[in-house]
Symmetry: C2
Subunit: 252 residues, 2 copies
């Protein structure tokens, strides 16, 4: 919007012009931005002003400093997550994992998985229509893309539905949890995804190696079997610098 | 995940326990959190440690300080934006605005609107299948909920399609832009929404009155008429503290 408001501090106006140059493509992902000396000369400002301007872009997650080399436009080569196609039955019904639909030619892997039986948090019990004392199977996974952790996923399933099945194993087998649910008579036929965003918790910063100034996108998916029976709640925390979420749908 | 890692600084462990108490519902939205004195007594720590712990929750946007009154769980009463239902033809086809589907009993209003004719940014030209020199109609709006600005929206439409229609007016009439596009023979039949998140720019902070430590959710929607013809690109920046985005869809 109003890109040149003269009442704004000089360093913000310099940051605005750099941001606009990045947005327009003048500086692409991975390009080196003008340094402090360049900005001092171009705008006739003190070093501290130039430094503050670059700091604004770093704080917004648009640029990143590389020690001794300067400040660069952050390489944003996001994972495109197609919300609707990826959950189509033909995907998991044919023994593919859901997330294999996301990755094109890139390598997305689960590098941590744990399975446990726990009392469900209250909001999970409510979403799964469970009584407070009911136990759930909890599957915690971390997903890594190109060696960078990009997603934490915590999936809750009513233990009464999945006890004794491969859902309670680390390796759920071909097609994963949804293929197993289908075999158990609880085939997911409908999904609801809720999307939020906030700054990461310290634990998320550490587990996802998140850069400063980068939020997480939270996706909470509920999977429903026939008759609207909820069979899974999956809470995901995504490194916002690594993802674009895409939803394609018709008007009617 | 690992909630009690004893190698982490004390203030982070106190922040973790408060965060968990909020997550579990022990402290609800608007509740006052234990103050510095309470935390000092409960955990046997110095005032600075208690202050740092509360600072972590403020920085994450979970809590907010109110001058002289303490630190409170932020009231998160988000606008639920149902991505697919809200764009159903019966919505705008019946003269309702798209966003009236979001608001239940709350008051969402456009408090700023401007319309102009501009050369399209390169990525908009590309998305709309336009030549570089083609001009677009640009509609910029700000949406306010309960007197708080929550969304900035910039909509681009090929001027060749909408010139002379109410789309180029501040008030587009009943059903808004999509109803007018339908009358012009370019009824939107398909949508793609792309979702990203990042920290707000200074301009977004100011226009949306965003609290510190709160990201924006970016929604970029492309509307397609028959034969996959793109007719609108709408870039939205949402205050992440004000929105939950919901997408409901079937498995096949």
């Amino acid at each position: 919007m109003a890109a040149t408001d003269d009442r704004r501090p000089k360093y913000q106006r310099i940051a605005d012009s750099l941001r606009e140059a990045i947005r327009s493509g003048e500086y692409g992902p991975g390009d080196r931005l003008p340094g402090e000396n360049d900005l001092m000369a171009a705008h006739g400002v003190a070093r501290m002003t130039a430094r503050q301007a670059l700091g604004v872009l770093r704080d917004e997650g648009i640029a990143e400093a590389r020690k001794g080399a300067g400040v660069f436009v952050r390489s944003f080569r996001p994972l495109r997550r197609r919300g609707i196609q990826r959950l189509a039955r033909e995907q998991w019904g044919n023994g593919r994992s859901i997330w294999s639909a996301d990755i094109e030619s890139r390598v997305l892997e689960v590098d941590q998985v744990s399975v446990s039986e726990e009392a469900a948090p209250a909001y999970v019990s409510a979403a799964l229509d469970l009584a407070a004392e009911d136990v759930v199977c909890v599957r915690r996974r971390r997903f890594v893309l190109d060696d960078k952790p990009v997603q934490l996923s915590t999936s809750y399933l009513p233990l009464a539905l999945v006890a004794g099945s491969a859902v309670t194993q680390e390796d759920t087998g071909p097609g994963g949890t949804y293929a197993r649910l289908a075999e158990l008579g609880y085939e997911p036929v409908h999904f609801r995804e809720e999307i939020r965003s906030r700054m990461p918790s310290p634990d998320e910063v550490s587990q996802l190696s998140i850069s400063p100034g980068t939020p997480v996108i939270l996706v909470c998916r509920t999977a429903f079997a026939a008759q609207g029976r909820p069979v899974e709640v999956n809470e995901m925390a995504l490194d916002a610098a690594s993802y674009v979420l895409e939803y394609d749908f018709d008007a009617s």
